[in-house]
Symmetry: C2
Subunit: 197 residues, 2 copies
Amino acid sequence: MSSTREIDALIDMMAKLPGLGPRSARRAVLHLIRKRALLLTPLADLMQTVAVTARECLNCGNVGTSDICDICTSEKRANGELCVVEDVADLWAMERSGVFKGRYHVLGGTLSALDAIGPQELRIPRLIDRVSTENITEVILALNATIDGQTTAHYIADQLDGQVTLTSLAQGVPIGGELDYLDDGTITAAMRARKSL
Amino acid sequence: MSSTREIDALIDMMAKLPGLGPRSARRAVLHLIRKRALLLTPLADLMQTVAVTARECLNCGNVGTSDICDICTSEKRANGELCVVEDVADLWAMERSGVFKGRYHVLGGTLSALDAIGPQELRIPRLIDRVSTENITEVILALNATIDGQTTAHYIADQLDGQVTLTSLAQGVPIGGELDYLDDGTITAAMRARKSL
Ligand SMILES: [Zn+2]
Ligand SMILES: [Zn+2]
């Protein structure tokens, strides 16, 4: 490499981010260097700010800039509905849809025998605590339709059985989804949950 | 979005980098926030350093941290061979292969009637200057096999005709390349340039 040490180090670091690789990291870094004043310096400043201000909500695990996040402090969101997700990215996806008006609980992963992740490694004890202290009437288990996701959903359902209404997201064909591109499991689930017109 | 202003701004900025999009930007930013001390702060520092130190070589257009890059200052690279590339990323790709021992000239793009990019918008005058002052014996036109790339190669070849040996990279099937995955043009070029065994 003819680029010097710091540039190589920057490329290496960018290449390790999820979704990037060496090639896109090189392209991104060249782009940033070309637009140094317009992009690289502001991006560095913004990262520095976020590194100082970002934190996980102590209540739900959402990422924000205060100890308790905006959703947990908003009284409007205290409608008794609690949506349990695996990851902050899932919470953001739900918020973009705008369909859910209650609060969230971010587990921070799924139970996994293989990776030795038990309830204590996730935010499950805190979830059980919240259900009994926050006047929760419905817990929506919005976990991924993976084996670990469903195992985790069943475990949580067992723990909360009888205390609240438990629901999960409907499974089926995505809007605009072409059958040809769907995996067998999705088609099977959609067929079993078919509705009369 | 429940994330706060700076986090949203960081995601927006990352999403505009080449090779990323909104989804990978969100994943990257969440990853960085989770590993704030280990990744986000060092990355911000490194970007700040590169923003201050990075510059284009005044001679060849390579990116480095000095006014004249390492390759242009190295006497070992003054073997009379000059490899002309469109972009710094191409120079880096050549350097990774380790096959070329001479110097480079980065055009900074290709001639394009559509985008009104003429020789003056590229580093072409400087190239012609270098050929006559740097004891160049061979100019290797390593431009992309696109219409604009080849137009640019022909233009440069015309300008330098009679002054130096002009060559270009061989075209053909990439090593490990499966014919089934190659476009027609590559197969045609490889067939026409076939060699006897
Ligand atoms: Zn919260
Ligand atoms: Zn140079």
